[in-house]
Amino acid sequence: MSNKVFAHASDAIHDISDGAVLMLGGFGLCGIPEHAIAALVKKGVRQLTCISNNAGVDDFGIGLLLQQRQVKKMISSYVGENAEFERQLLSGELEVELIPQGTLATRCMMAGYGIPAFFTPAGYGTEVAADKESRPFKLFGQEKDYLMEYAFEADFALVKAWKGDTQGNLIFKAAARNFNPLMAMAGRITIAEVEHLVEPGQLDPNEIHTPGIYVHRIFKGDHFEKRIEQRTVQAKSTV
């Protein structure tokens, strides 16, 4: 079988070059491809377009790429929590395109499903609708106006999974699933980093979230930091 397994992040991303369009999975810092990001920082590729729901924080996630000024454009739904991002945006160094979160997620999925365009109500009547085709449809007995949106594709999709096998089958964990399986389907080349890399047959075929056909390269991350953005807990004494 042709080999999808790479030893290190740096090998897996070896051909990502300046100007590439990337998708990066994750919601906030949850389920982000932290090893691929670190390898991109080390490689020093520039002028990247990053499609990702968020832009990380100053010192983690996509924030690391922003620090090194490797990002030309961010396409996201929400970009708070990042002072360097704000500075680059206000200075005009960084281009930003904001897209409603559901539209962003669905556009990725549609690429993976081979559907070039679809209709969603999100953003109708707002500035998001500028220059977009719209028309009314009736669904579940309700008529309203919808915008036509296009599938999103990327040169490379960088995703993070919990478990993966050497054929590229992936299982995500809990809320770290988020955009990962959607972007996994939308990359011309999809690179998955996993916490646990196993042999074919060790994942239950019934529990696979992303079939290996969508995944071109896979590697095991050495150690996942999995930083928590908002640590909210109940004090033990309150129980």
Partner: protein
């Protein structure tokens, strides 16, 4: 006048057993603290979870289990995880029975503005535009006026719109308002607040007639 927690508590009275509910960030999040006895609702977090539980015990937080506010949370029996496309899929398909959101402005036709202030750094709409375009039943929880003392209940939004004609009810520190074809219909008034106060602080079309109760918490 209600405080933030009282606004949340009043909104919690709208919950019905078996509802699927999405609570936005801010006051809406507090609604979860006041779910009436005998009522079980399933909280959706749009990053991919149905059945959101409370914050974890100290030391038990899991980076992979967060809510849409990026806070560490827990699951409960019956929880289900899914991807972001399915999450907004169920939102768009109208499966969420009640959505509670904050807002900067609400117009008397139900328009809402809650994502962008011109001249200020724009952080993005996140899932707000998807939610307001699709939710069947949206309640806005907010202060009646902004920091400058200007009404946030308007005849027309002045800030960039998040969604059109979608808000059904507004709960502020002053009262509970249904949005109908007539505008903001005052249904309940907060203890210690007069109808004159409400009139003075509401810029949009306000309807004050019929039976206006005092809010009971």
């Amino acid at each position: 006048m209600l405080d933030k927690n009282q606004i949340a508590k009043r909104i919690a009275q709208e919950l019905r057993d078996g509802m699927y509910v999405n609570l936005g960030i801010g006051i809406p999040t507090l609604v979860a603290n006041y779910i009436p006895e005998g009522v079980q609702v399933v909280l959706q977090s749009e990053n991919g979870l149905l059945g959101m539980g409370p914050f974890p015990m100290e030391g038990e937080e899991d980076a992979d289990v967060i809510n849409a506010g990026k806070q560490t949370i827990t699951t409960i029996p019956g929880s289900a995880f899914f991807d972001s496309a399915m999450s907004f899929g169920m939102i768009r398909a109208g499966k969420i029975d009640l959505t509670v959101l904050g807002a900067m402005e609400v117009a008397d036709n139900g328009d809402i503005a809650n994502w962008k202030i011109p001249g200020k750094m724009v952080k993005g709409m996140g899932g707000a535009m998807d939610l307001v375009a699709s939710a069947q039943n949206i309640i806005v929880a907010m202060q009646h006026t902004n920091r400058a003392g200007e009404s946030k209940l308007l005849s027309q939004c002045t800030l960039p719109i998040t969604g059109l004609r979608c808000v059904r009810k507004v709960v502020t520190e002053l009262g509970v308002f249904d949005i109908t074809t007539r505008g903001f219909e005052l249904r309940e008034i907060a203890p210690g607040v007069t109808v004159e106060d409400v009139i003075a602080k509401t810029a949009g079309r306000l309807v004050v007639d019929g039976d206006i109760k005092t809010i009971v918490l």
